[in-house]
Amino acid sequence: MRTRLYSLDELDDIPGTKVFNAMRSRQAYHLHKFCMSLMDPANREAFRHDERAYLDRFRMSAEQKQAVLDRDFNQLIELGGNIYFLVKLSNTDGWSTQKAVGSMTGMTPDEYAAMMRAGGRPIEGNRSIKGKY
């Protein structure tokens, strides 16, 4: 056996973090196709015109489509999504990246912005679920 510096299970030990890997990449392939399509102004227009009909052009799961309609970024990440793709959706909505990212924290946009101005979320207690450090 080749040596490994740590078990990949440890990647699941980081609080509030889904490490985007090959399986998630596959799970979200069509969701990400949708996100990438929003790089075209005509597609953004079609999506705004009828979100549901536009989403039905893509082979995404029903849950993924609903999470897009709900702008539920935590759920989109739960369903395999990666933030670099998902910001194409929030950019289309005219949201700042900070608004999209902050929406996943349970804080209001103002509370989140204030936390960032005050130096961000501290690392203490946020490194490890098991180790609580």
């Binding site: 980081i14 929003l38 790089m39 075209d40 935590n74 990246t97 902050g102 961000g120």
Partner: protein, 279 residues
Amino acid sequence: MARITAGIATSHVPAIGAAFDLGRTQEPYWKPVFDGYEWVKQFEEREEPDVVILCYNDHASAMMLDVVPTFALGCAEEFAPADEGWGPRPVPTVMGDPVLAGHLAEQLVIDEFDLTLMNHLDVDHGLTVPLSLMFGKVEQWPVRVIPLAVNVTQFPTPSAERCWQLGAAIADAVQAYPPNLNVQIWGTGGMSHQLQGERAGLINPEFDNAFLDKLSNQTDDLRRVTRLEFLRESGSEGIELIMWLIMRGALGDNVEELYRFYHVPASNTAVGHIVLRPR
């Protein structure tokens, strides 16, 4: 003979690009960020580099995950700014250097780095924000650019050590290039930030400043930082810092630190910037 004369690292936050493009650089929130780049703008005017090898990551702009290249080298004559969902940034088209890129492609594969070669590549904020920070508002970029896109999206990314070794191989390849060119290498991305989930907004100034401190002459420590440690300590997107190690690996054992800047926050991110000179 071509030579690498400086290594520059900087964060590449999209909101910095938006603030720049919308003329908001003097607003109270943004002024401290842009002030941190005044030194390097003067430096670049004096240095007049011919080519920049620019290590960055594509943020799902040119690369849908149909193909997931670990290291992708831009070989085209030019690279257009990408539309990331609100229109392309109003910045000049980035001009490449296909001859040097072709040389690098040959040398690096011969040296066991099995690169992906990109003959078409639109470039997003990861590449154009650093150009704006170094050169300001210009009609044309004053350098040719060879983009080197690194996978930091899909785990596993290349390791810190692998990035270092690639940098070292780039240095050898540049040195073996006959034309008399002033080449810089840039590492971009980082510093600590996390853009997902309930830990979003994570900033770790101790980790960031230790990284900056060690970048000059305690690099063995940085080469041993695992992916897990980057993710844990610097956030799920903080792992972009591996790209700084390609830059650093290309500068050789000894460097002089010419300038450093660190600021929190820009949007969700800790901004770090350093300028190094190989000795």
